[in-house]
Amino acid sequence: MSAEIFSIVTFIYGLSVILYVAAWVFKKSFLGGLATWVTVAGAAGNGAGLVFRWIESYQMGIGHAPLSNLYESLVFFSFSLAGIYLFIEFRYKMKSIGVAASPLFFLAMAYASLPKVNSGIQPLIPALQSNWLIAHVITCFLGYAAFAVAFGTSLMFLVKPVDGRPGTGIIGLIPDSDILDDLTHQMVMFGFLFLSLGIITGSVWANQAWGRYWGWDPKETWSLITWLIYASLLHARLMRGWQGKRIALLSCLGFIAVIFTYFGVNLLPGLHSYQ
């Protein structure tokens, strides 16, 4: 059941990418409205799928929250991204950011659909049998999702011409640089708070399962590297008044660290590598 829902959600997210781009290029407001409602439908389906998967795991007798392997984390990542994006769209009344954000949640779902990602519901190995699992995964992925949106707004900032000319063609439709800069900063602060929460819940959990709150495991270390990069960004911004391009570049660097923390660490030995 949940598997079919997720295939449909992947398709819907693909559709919202097309609609956001079309609304942007053709400047048609009904396309924008459609894009929003399609994305809302996709996110609702995404959330419902997670609930169904949770129920299914109980029907199989191995009940646990759907946050235990790469597949489930990707689906949840996608859900967080779509949720945060929609929140921003409603709050700032701006649809053009959807052009940068919608490919992110579509790609996360598309990656989860690849055959090499095991989509089966597996029982929890002993190390994951803890209530900290839910708190740790949710906080980490909310953080990742916020950093992903910050990455999207930073990219838009960077492709926008700097000299203040309104720009021509579709580049001219990118939101005001100030708004992008502000959004990047907001998302980085939100992400930083949740990444901190994610590292801390992971730390408390590690102390309960393995007897130490910090062990320099590659995933732990990479989450710290990510944290340090965003901490630098916040200091450069708040104390040294950095804005605009330099912040956008640091935000991109931070997101590369996020991606490596999420996926790259599987290439390294350690306790967090997905099976």
């Binding site: 191995i62 597996q122 029982p123 190995i125 002993p126 190390a127 049998q129 803890s130 502000d182 900063h185 907001q186 602060m189 939100f190 930083f192 708070l193 901190s196 929460l197 801390i200 730390s203 408390v204 102390n207 309960q208 399962a209 393995w210 007897g211 130490r212 709150y213 910090w214 320099w216 590659p218 270390t221 990479w222 710290l224 590297i225 340090l228 990069i229 901490a231 630098s232 200091h235 450069a236 911004r237 708040l238 104390m239 040294r240 008044g241 660290a257 660490v265 390294l268 030995p269």
Partner: protein
Amino acid sequence: MRDKSDSGGMLDGVWRFFASVRLTVAVLLSLAVTSIIGTVIPQNMTPFLYLRSYGEGLYRVFDALDMFDMYHSWWFRFLLLILVVNIIICSINRLSATWKIIFPKTPVFPVVRLKQAKHKETWQVADSPESVKNRFLSYIAKNYRTHEVQPEKDGFLILAEKGRWTRLGVYAVHFSVLLMVLGGLIGSLLGFEGFVNIPEGESAARIRLITGNAEKDLGFLIRCNDFDISYYENGMPREYRSNISLVKDGNVLVTKDIRVNDPLRFAGVNIFQSSWGRTPGKRFKVVFTEESSGVTYESEASLGEEVQVPGDKGVLILDDFKSEFSFKGVNLGGVFIGRLALKDQEPTNVLLPVEFPRFDRMRRGEHVISVSDLAYSYYTGLQVTRDPGVPVVYVGFVLMIIGCYITFFMFHQKVCVAVIEKDGQTQVAVSGILGKNRPGMAAVAKQLSNRLKHLR
């Protein structure tokens, strides 16, 4: 600090160096970059493994730079020390300045800056300025900590502010980092971390520490009463469980089933389910099956003991047992490794997986050798730690989250509500400033003006 310059320009320079945020950013990024090394070079392995992967020359260079235990190296600790000094000096420096802003003797509103602030919401009301005054004032009084009214030509200004104390949030974050470093220091000075393997039914008093080949006496015995593994239907492990007792002078202090995620904590010492293994029973049977006839011969055996090959054709010695063994990517489970010395032949190695009795056919010998009647005894692998720094670190965790929340999402805001009569119309303008370089004033102005518009 400037008035200290007469006591020595040098000291002043050092102070300024450590008080700079440029240093903070440099140290944070240096920590980030150097931390990568330890995720690429596996840490704390045996020199033998490093020599094999890096070769003699590179090994010596890496070893000299403490690359194999880099997070405990002098240079990594030195970076942390700089960060700590940087945080302390910066906090002292800024707090002495911020203190006057947070707790001023007489609060002053920068009227001109407020009126000219970038984000402004304006609208018109039908009533005269005086008639909206009380309405606005009662809302402001309820929602802002301090406020005052200043008369203006054809109207008035309401100046208000709140959230001065939120400027302290950032110090909470920085103090939390210091607490975490302090907790880590306490742990490494007063704590320990070690491992011990205990066979079922046996006890251990000493553990092997993970640092420097040392052992530690715990002052009590850990007895493993029972060890169990259970599996899911698909073969994945479901639970590792050890029933252990702590025993002192013959008295059982405590008994508990420990699992992964469910340790035993006793008098500051924590005992975790960490690994497990099995050892073969002392006596078992070696079975020789003649390939041509299918006839079997059985012989009692034990590890390291010579076993006669049927027909006096030679001897077999089983030297070693591995509880898990992979052969060409296939997990064979428990295997015996032995030497077979047949008369008039070179001795050869044999691999005898307990669960695959026909495996030895691959050797194409006269007999297929297998092992049967093997009883295992299990041992539990426990991690034993003591870390008195944990409470300090946890206080740091809580402070970090509270501090980040205050710093990021609560503001010191000063607002100005200007109500001016102009051309027979009453104009209201809401503007304000937030703590420096903070985004979000536009949202604050919008929200406040919405509230004021809908006041009854």
